[in-house]
């Protein structure tokens, strides 16, 4: 098939699309979305909310008009072992008069009401686009409220137009940095536990990893932020190591914690057998303890023995399929390439909403020649490249699913709403099964027949 990558695309978009082995240019990423383009990107507020929402006993209050809160009510599959408070969507529901006269008073009253009703130790106040414009002083309102109720009220500067989802991650990390800072009077003792950054406990994923780490003889101090709570997060500075999974959202926090508390960090990934095993080994290495190493090797051996036959079975069925990938961050994209390789699938198109330059470089070294790599794609581009490259599977979020189905292509959900874990060895099996369930479904046979007879 003729490769016309980008020839038909909009001029403004051409630098954000490359073909491995064909183009030498560096991919343009981390820029503003092009107007009129039907970008698949979410906003700053969305990024911040994703990161902070799993904190279970906090009040998450959206300061803005109703829509922003309405579209984000309990849509994520983060699980909790304790409080369920985080699953509510609170909004100041700004009205026209608030927009004209300012929303500070309403916000203060909203916090009062919520403190009385829910009795939280922690309140996050998210700013949305118009709050940035009408100029409400979030900082001041939060400070006054904190003082009045003697709890923590932390503003999250997530006005949507100051960047994209990645800026939201940063806003969330700023809020977290504030939250974990110990008061002067409190003395922190370092222990041998680790903090686990960048797992939101979707379908219990953080619990799976916690179990592995425990079997290795190490304790998880706190997870950022899956199934975490106020007390646990406050103890974050005690850990002796940070492991970070979702680098896009958490690198910034890890760096801050290294500066402020001298906690070193390593990057890990628990997606796929290969990454999971390697990550567990690297954690063990960091502790340099014979017993830990022995336990780790035993764990890896046992787990792999358990899942390998199943995964091999799927691999046989799936070998030779071609996947297109369009996900939020670069970390996920990189892991997916490896995971697909484990089950014999080649990635022919790959893109992200908010990947960074270094992540795209890694992607480029991992994929085969001819693979299309693109940043902040729109539906037109996704459609063209999927068809052109003969992909029979798309990995993406909710918005991409119907597009895949209309094209008669299999689909794997890789969003925050998933109901089955994709992490660790268990997750690797789930992933293979999900791919199998969609790629090898009998329905495609009829779809193809339909196409021929039409």
């Amino acid at each position: 098939m003729e490769m016309d990558a980008g020839l038909w695309a909009l001029e403004e978009r051409k630098d954000s699309i490359t073909v491995k082995g064909k183009h030498k240019k560096q991919l343009k990423c981390d820029t503003d979305s092009v107007a009129g383009c039907v970008s698949q990107r979410a906003c700053v507020y969305c990024g911040a909310r994703v990161v902070l929402n799993p904190i279970t006993d906090a009040v998450h209050l959206v300061h803005g008009p109703i829509g922003c809160a309405s579209y984000t009510w309990d849509i994520r599959g983060s699980l909790s072992s304790g409080s369920e408070l985080y699953r509510n969507s609170f909004s100041t529901d700004l009205q026209e008069e608030d927009v004209i006269f300012g929303g500070e008073k309403k916000l203060a009253r909203a916090i009062n009401d919520l403190v009385e009703k829910c009795n939280p130790k922690l309140v996050f106040v998210y700013s949305t686009c118009i709050v940035g414009v009408i100029g409400d002083d979030l900082e001041a309102v939060c400070k006054a409220a904190a003082k009045k109720h003697d709890i923590e009220v932390i503003p999250v500067q997530s006005s949507g137009f100051i960047g994209n989802k990645a800026a939201g991650y940063r806003a969330a990390c700023d809020a977290l940095t504030r939250l974990i800072a110990p008061q002067k009077s409190v003395k922190m003792f370092r222990n041998r536990s680790i903090n686990y950054l960048g797992d939101f406990n979707l379908a219990g994923e953080a619990w799976i990893i916690k179990n592995y780490i425990k079997q290795m003889g190490i304790d998880i101090n706190v997870t950022f932020t899956g199934d975490s709570n106020y007390e646990a997060l406050k103890k974050a500075p005690q850990a002796s190591l940070n492991i970070i999974q979702c680098a896009g959202s958490m690198s910034y926090l890890a760096q801050k914690m290294q500066e402020q508390y001298e906690i070193p960090y390593i990057r890990v990934s628990f997606l796929g057998i290969e990454d999971t095993s390697e990550s567990l080994r690297r954690i063990a290495e960091a502790f340099n303890d014979k017993e830990i190493t022995r336990r780790t090797e035993k764990l890896i051996k046992n787990e792999i023995e358990k899942v390998r036959p199943t995964i091999e079975g799927y691999r046989e069925k799936l070998s030779g399929s071609k996947a297109a990938v369009y996900v939020g961050g670069g970390f996920k994209a990189i892991s997916l390439i490896k995971q697909f390789r484990e089950i014999g699938i080649e990635v022919v198109m790959i893109g992200t909403q908010t990947g960074r330059q270094d992540e795209y470089d890694t992607i480029n070294t991992l994929v085969d020649d001819g693979t299309v790599v693109l940043d902040d794609a729109n539906p037109t581009e996704l459609e063209r490249f999927m068809v052109q490259k003969g992909a029979n599977l798309l990995v993406g979020g909710v918005k991409e699913r119907p597009l895949a189905y209309k094209l008669g292509v299999a689909f794997v959900d890789h969003n925050h709403d998933r109901k089955h874990p994709l992490s660790g060895f268990t997750g690797a099996v789930n992933f293979a099964r999900e791919v199998y369930s969609t790629v090898c479904s009998p329905v495609w046979k009829f779809v193809q027949q339909g196409r021929q007879s039409l």
């Binding site: 107007a35 309405s70 579209y71 529901d93 339909g450």
Partner: protein, 472 residues
């Protein structure tokens, strides 16, 4: 009659409504070859697209002018012009809708002017561009829907010689509902223009080739000719006159307007049929007579089971009215009826109906799920009817939910839910009755055991339990 009108609160806890531009997208999806661009931040468009796509299981392409910091400070004109350029290049639409979001309205964008400048510069006199000011804080998705519908009609309508068609204007109902209404009109040999018709565009059949803008939708020429129609039948008794496309056609062009409720429920559907026969002179065909007879049969078959139902109904005003009435007809007495919209007419209309049955119903306008939940438990509701967010009532209070309306995002088939006409009402009623039965069977062994064996006669059968039919 309890009423909660002065419903001011500082916090909205678990919203029951979405925002204005989201509702405004939908009527545009019911016009042939149309595309929408939201003037504001990128994020809003993404959220709304996801919300709509999840319900309809269709790709929902909506562009955004992607206002950033610069645009916000110096005005968003450049973004919107570039946005329009790109939209036209990528989609070559036959009509464009421009909806504003909170941000564009707050920074005071004059979209009317920017649009006419754009049109002149590009000599785009033949491409209709319809602008709709829809700040999210200006109303709920319901008001957004009607305002967009009205702007489309007022933007496209042209003085037209009288013709024999009638206009049918539909509210936010499912594609399956729209198809059913068209089937009924066809059965009656009525010539009509139905607007907005998203029955194909938001529920397209699988086909050989993928089109970015799906086939279907009301033809632009047909909308333009609406002023020549013999009458308008508008399914929308709760809408404000300012937002009413039917009222516009009446005022500007003298097209007689008949406002009717959603034809769900026997009386509502009878009313719809009466209006149609009155306007067109055609009579009810035998096949529909029979469908009506089957609905009556269904109502009789289920009446005793239904009597145990105490319903909580929520969603868009128009739907709440039609469903509440259907419930009342069948003895599934509503105990709570709620909407997230600020709607003056709904409470009035419902009160009139409720008074006929001498019942107590808590009416919640401009409400949220926290209120709905509290009132449902205190009133002993045992069945909920409304969109997917009502799953909160199931999870927290064990009240089973019959999914109806928008959005249905935790089950498949939101676009295929049929509940209008005699046939659709029958199907809805069966779903409601079966949900009541399922819940009854699920609990009755353990609940009888608890009541009569375990607790002996301490927990005597109270009147409340018998009446409400609530289980243990």
């Amino acid at each position: 009659m309890k009423r909660d009108k002065a419903n001011y609160r500082n916090v909205n806890e678990n919203p029951c409504n979405m925002c204005m531009p989201m509702g405004g997208i939908l009527p545009f999806k019911g016009v042939e070859q149309s595309m929408v661009i939201l003037h504001g931040s990128q994020g809003c468009a993404t959220y709304m697209r996801r919300h709509i796509a999840e319900h309809f299981n269709e790709p929902i392409d909506v562009a955004s002018s992607a206002l950033n910091e610069k645009g916000t400070v110096y005005g968003g004109e450049k973004n919107r012009k570039q946005g329009l350029d790109n939209l036209i290049k990528l989609y070559s639409p036959g009509i464009i809708g421009i909806l504003t979001t909170c941000l564009a309205e707050t920074i005071g964008e004059d979209i009317g002017r920017i649009t006419s400048d754009y049109r002149n510069e590009h000599e785009l006199h033949r491409l209709p561009i319809i602008t709709v000011p829809t700040p999210g804080y200006g109303g709920s998705h319901t008001e957004g829907y009607w305002l967009a519908a009205k702007q489309i009609v007022s933007g496209l309508a042209r003085q037209t010689p009288r013709h024999s068609k009638i206009n049918i204007i539909v509210p936010h109902i499912s594609p399956a509902d729209i198809r059913e209404i068209k089937r009924i009109l066809d059965r009656m040999d009525i010539d009509f223009t139905l607007f907005p018709d998203f029955s194909d565009t938001l529920d397209r059949p699988f086909s050989k080739t993928y089109k970015k803008i799906p086939n279907g939708g009301t033809r632009i020429a047909d909308i333009a000719a609406m002023p020549g129609a013999a009458a308008t039948v508008q399914i929308g008794i709760t809408i404000d006159d300012d937002l009413s496309p039917g009222r516009f056609l009446e005022r500007e062009f003298g097209v007689p307007l008949y406002n009717v409720p959603i034809p769900t429920g026997l009386e509502n559907m009878d009313l719809f049929m009466n209006v149609l026969t009155e306007i067109t002179g055609s009579c009810m065909p035998l096949s529909l007579e029979q469908e009506r007879g089957r609905l009556l049969d269904c109502m009789i078959d289920s009446h005793k089971y239904n009597f145990e139902g105490r319903s909580v109904i929520f969603g868009e005003p128009e739907l709440v009215y039609a469903v509440a009435k259907t419930c009342m007809e069948n003895g599934i007495f509503p105990v709570v009826a709620a909407t997230g919209s600020k709607n003056a007419k709904l409470a009035e209309l419902l009160t009139a109906e409720i008074d006929k049955y001498e019942r107590q119903v808590v009416l919640l306008m401009d409400s949220d799920f926290d209120q709905i939940r509290q009132n449902s438990t205190s009133a002993g509701a045992n069945i909920a009817i409304g969109h997917s967010d009502g799953r909160y009532l199931t999870e927290r209070e064990g009240i089973p939910l019959v999914r109806l309306g928008f959005p249905i995002h935790d089950r498949v088939g939101g676009q295929r839910v049929l509940s209008v006409g005699y046939l659709g009402t029958t199907m809805l009623l069966d779903r409601v009755t079966n949900t009541l039965l399922e819940n009854k069977y699920k609990n009755y062994r353990s609940s009888m055991y608890e009541q009569f064996y375990h607790n002996g006669h301490e927990n005597n059968i109270s009147g409340k339990i018998l009446l409400s039919g609530t289980e243990g």
